[in-house]
């Protein structure tokens, strides 16, 4: 079965049925996507399927085979960080960092559909991703900042 991940085609076994998260991490070595709960609650495993945020621990690999899969490793455009990554770095958001791939992938997919979100919309979009270091105030600030960077790339210092 073919998987297109960050623009690169990978061939993986079709059987047995298994979750995309573990194919990414254990079979393909793309460990930027993290495991946290395995039941789709914590959001650490969030990736993009055709640009939509998806929890890879709940996504059977077969469901992803026809789609463009983007992981944290493919969020940046080469050396040029995605506005969300720029904002998370500039705001010094991560602490331990384990949840951050999921946070950034969630934020990037959200901002792609809502370029100028309200505070309440940010809370709703980001309110289902756990951060045990509890960096939520910085995540919120960084999502606002990422929207500004995306709107005006010159803003990226």
């Amino acid at each position: 079965m073919k998987l297109t991940i960050n623009g690169i085609a990978h061939e993986v076994a079709e059987q047995p049925p298994r979750m995309l998260l573990w194919v990414l991490r254990d079979e393909l070595g793309l460990t930027g996507t993290k495991f946290g709960c395995g039941i789709g609650v914590c959001g650490a495993c969030t990736v993009h399927l055709d640009g939509m945020a998806a929890r890879s621990c709940q996504t059977l690999v077969g469901q992803a085979s026809e789609k463009a899969i983007t992981t944290i490793e493919g969020l940046a455009d080469g050396d040029s960080l995605h506005p969300v990554q720029q904002a998370f770095l500039e705001g010094q958001v991560p602490q331990c960092g384990w949840c951050m791939s999921g946070q950034m992938m969630t934020a990037a997919a959200f901002l792609a559909t809502n370029a100028n979100p309200s505070d309440a919309e940010i809370t709703e979009a980001m309110g289902y991703n756990y951060c045990r270091c509890a960096t939520y105030v910085r995540i919120r600030r960084a999502v606002v900042r990422a929207a500004a960077i995306a709107a005006s790339p010159k803003e990226a210092a």
């Binding site: 573990w22 609650v41 944290i72 990554q85 998370f88 045990r132 509890a134």
Partner: protein
Amino acid sequence: MSEQPPRRWRVTRRGFLIGAGLLGGGLALGATLGVTVGLPALHLAIANGLDGAGPPASFTTDPQLWFELTPEGRVRVAVPKVEMGQGVHTALAQIAADELELSWEQIEVVQSGSLGPVIDEGGTSASNSVSSLFTPLRETAATLRELLRAEAAARLGVAPTALSVAAGAFFVTTDPSRSVGYGALAEGAAAREAPSAPPLLKPASAWTIIGTSVPRVDLPAKIRGTAIYGYDARTEGMLYGAIARPPTLGATLRSAAPGSAASMPGVVAVVAEPEFAGAVAESRSAAYAAVGAMELEWAEQAPIQQEQIEALVQAAPGRGVVIQREGDVGAALRGATIISAEYRTPMAAHAHLEPQAALVDVRPDRVIAYVSTQSPMFAAQAIASALGREPQTVELHPTYLGGAFGRRIGADAAVEAARLSAAARRPVHVGWTRSEEFRNGYVRPPTHHVLRATLGPGGRITAIEHSQASGNVLLSVLPQLLRIAFGADFGAWRGARISYAVPNITTTAELADLPIATGAWRGLGLMANLFAVESFIDELAHAAGVDSVEFRVINAGDDLRGQRMRAVLASVAERSGWGSAAPQGRARGVACSIDANTAAAHVAEVSLKPEGGIRVHKIWAAVDPGLPINPDGVVAQTEGNITMGLSSVLFERLTVRDGRVAAGNFDAYPLLTMRDAPEIDVAVLRSGDVPYGVGEPPMGPIAAAVANAVFALTGKRLRELPLSVA
């Protein structure tokens, strides 16, 4: 693993170690790490360093290789502390770079492992990393700087005192065009003797990197998803392991047999030993399936219930070990009007988002391990002990940690992976599931607190008595002799002692022996004890008819600690508009603490949600860690401590049902999310030139600040966590 070139070592005066010939003309320098850490750190070192059999571990007296200077003039600083999000790599590099007179770009951090370059038996815990290493790191850096100065003076033909230094280069003060960089001095300096007198350290007024918010060194990799944690460790030919877990608390393996596991697809090895059973396979799912197919018989106890645990945690005056005594509380309370209250806190999960993980490769002559651990030395020793090997043959590399909060001071996954790797003769990765994490670790112990006090004139507390009971925090990892020596669990009583200047104080700690494993959780007893003490202080303030901030100011001591508590209180009072009316439907509460020598005060502004529950709108915080090495790092730790603490204050309660932890995953144990995360306004105060910890102390006052705000709003005193207004 890159092979290091052989080094030639000389021990010079003052025990410094100089290595020459590495990297073609570089210089390495280290010093022995003396026992300059305080007693709490030593306690933890003991707790972390023991495997339950031997004598207390001590800090090593082996030479420590702190610095490597390359011919290009870059300096690598080896840090023995692990990065779990607290920013310690950055803070330690700042201290080193400043003393070495480097520009920030010239230094890089290397994580030390169990075989060095810097050995640290103490592990990373108790908010002591920066405070314990501040002086030894600077002294070693200054020694290297002065060695280089001597070489530069010889090279430039001037007296050492005629030189100035900046950005990794010496220059003649009166003729800056004559200069030489560190890189060019490395080889010559390596042949020199370390200065015989301790070098002069830079005065605080000359610091240029200490005290600035340089960006964290670990974040670029974390932003790109390339940072490697224990769960991410990979190596050629690795396999995956799974372990048979007891079905109920306290159950032990009676017998184990492979059953059909060995013939299942992808299974490489099945281990069925007394008290340890597991399987190794080509995938995680195959390994877990194999364990499921093993024939296991468990000896189970009568199933434990939540009520049994709570009944065992009972504090009462006169019970337990006295951990603080001033004056005579008994006499002061006799015949007086006594105010009393009881508080309880529940068990809680650590819920670090990266479950326990280790990759271990057991080879005939050595062991290579990559582990998410707070205690690299302890984990290496535990692996050696489990395999019957010498600790010096275990090369343990701590990875980045996906949170820890006290749950990575053990060596669970590391030992499991080692045993399975030894059986499979291949590298084995063990990564726990969330359910294993909830049901097979240890939890924050439940606590119970009884407080009594009497008031005198002028809003002064005449006598106060805090009797607390808690499950184990650290004693369970100590050998029997030390348990007896300590009497009470010094971890459990962190934050329990009264830090106000009251003439009569008694604080006692009672250790409850529980049928569930409990242990260290961020701050140890700090949040629980301060929830009780600082809520009770608020009760006393109301009884005295004195404003809650003013009451604390009146009762704080006149010594430096008291002054620092007053300063953080003044900061939050001013910024929160304390004393003015809160917005309609809201109220404010205050609490403060001094822990690990860091003072903290929080004001919380709360309302009640229309749908039920408490909404925390905003926290004003003030933190005085002595000297903030990286002010933004202090802000980040304060925000994190407050918000993680709020998860406990508002939501978390871990229970046991029918012999096991009721929650097996986050669906049954929700954490706080952005939906309940308040706005936070942090002021970082500097009160001196010595840094204290920030990884835990700011969590201290948060529970009481919120509970006190709820009282101000509703008139209802909530004395149990999580707070419930229902």
